[in-house]
Subunit: 296 residues, 2 copies
Amino acid sequence: MLDQVKLQIYRYIQELRDERVEKLFVRIPFGKMLRSKLILQIAPSKEAIGLAAMVELIHMASLLHDDVIDEANLRRGKPSINVTFGNKSAIMLGDILYSKAFYELSSLPAPLPQIISNAVTLLSLGELLDVELARSFNPDIDRYMDMIYKKTASLIEASAMAAAQIAGKDTRRYGLYGKNLGLAFQIVDDILDITQDEATLGKPTMSDLKEGKTTLPYIYLYEALDEKGRERLLSLFKKELSNEERSWLQERLRDTKSLDRAKQKAMQLGQEALECLDKEDERLRSIMTQLIDRTY
Amino acid sequence: MLDQVKLQIYRYIQELRDERVEKLFVRIPFGKMLRSKLILQIAPSKEAIGLAAMVELIHMASLLHDDVIDEANLRRGKPSINVTFGNKSAIMLGDILYSKAFYELSSLPAPLPQIISNAVTLLSLGELLDVELARSFNPDIDRYMDMIYKKTASLIEASAMAAAQIAGKDTRRYGLYGKNLGLAFQIVDDILDITQDEATLGKPTMSDLKEGKTTLPYIYLYEALDEKGRERLLSLFKKELSNEERSWLQERLRDTKSLDRAKQKAMQLGQEALECLDKEDERLRSIMTQLIDRTY
């Protein structure tokens, strides 16, 4: 059914009747389509395929703007649109995908358009907060969790809620599953930035700190270090790391169990997500457990 | 009633509950609020105030992204958000305003959300086309008219259509009025870029050509010049102009009647707009005539 979502996305793009857009669009690699999987799992129906296609368009739009903001060169191992076609095209293509998705959403019955568009506002507020937090090293866990809720979890939460609405299931419970899944997903991503190699990540290892992202493992590391260690950690913020500095960070993250703490936090959130599910939601369970497994 | 639209806009911003957004938002100067005037004129009602506030949010969002794309330093005589707070904040604030507007739109009855969101897609397609056309001097009038229809006229057309829908008036006729008004409006803007001084414009004179915008007067000039003149014109495309080059362009634009031709085109579109109106639409007539008067 994921293929049907892809087909629907291509139909939406063709409806724009713009060659340039089609040319740009085919250069965006499809990702894991986590949001679509979730939607189709909760509500296996034709209506859900359209919703999933709209949510994927929104997610793609947000990544296009995200890559401009992060000055990213790679997305899923391929040159990002901002690098190949410039920031201007990336910003505009993002706006085109957003507005096409909203156009399609506006034909769905209430409260589906409200659920999704509210999440897009949160998502953009999260991006703005991310830019704000990147000004200096952020040791505040609460601000970090607020940011990843808005930036990553809100659209996953909304996807689950909207799908539950379509399927006549409990929107609050599935929303909470989606929210916790989204938070866990982001923390796992933060961990992989540190533990995986460039080939697997599709972008350079440990790029988060260089980009000003004080992710959870680094916040825990800051808490664990003594004054001298903290000074060294702060001196590496937003810097191009030497091999020696990289090794120091890797070792400290392991020795202080900061990586382990982050994994535990992801697992705890994953556990909370699972508790929202019925026994029969076997596939939704496996989406969660596969996610956590990626950190090992 | 324009003040009520402004109050409604501030209420929407406050509902986002984000200090940073409020801080950024107050730095955006309100413009002439043409779209609101049009909406309130066609449908003087409480419902129309909400619609006008949503359309203004969308217009502001598009200007924020527009200024990032054009690398503009000034907007209505004040430093633009991208200059004061950086491109990242400008892109994200734009996304926040867009999504808040879509969220509010989604509670309006069909076909209002569809009319407006379709225009936002056209608007973004127009921006992309604008970027595309800026690669080299564009002597093609049809492509230029297509671009300004999408980029400028589509949202004005949609505003008029949506207002007519609310007021139970003929959406097709008012839409056509809005479209022609929008096209005339953009051409007048293109003329003013050439004829007005920096203080009046709120940005440097003749910045369009430097930014790669081959506006209507320049297309007409290209048509009127001989081979040698064309070569000189092309050599000035996207260049910082010397006083001598500026004078040459000003003189040539006058001598060849290229500016006059552009004014005539704006007036012709203005006339077509007026023909869509009833006799009693006195205020809508004056919006149109005041617009044309600005070129004298």
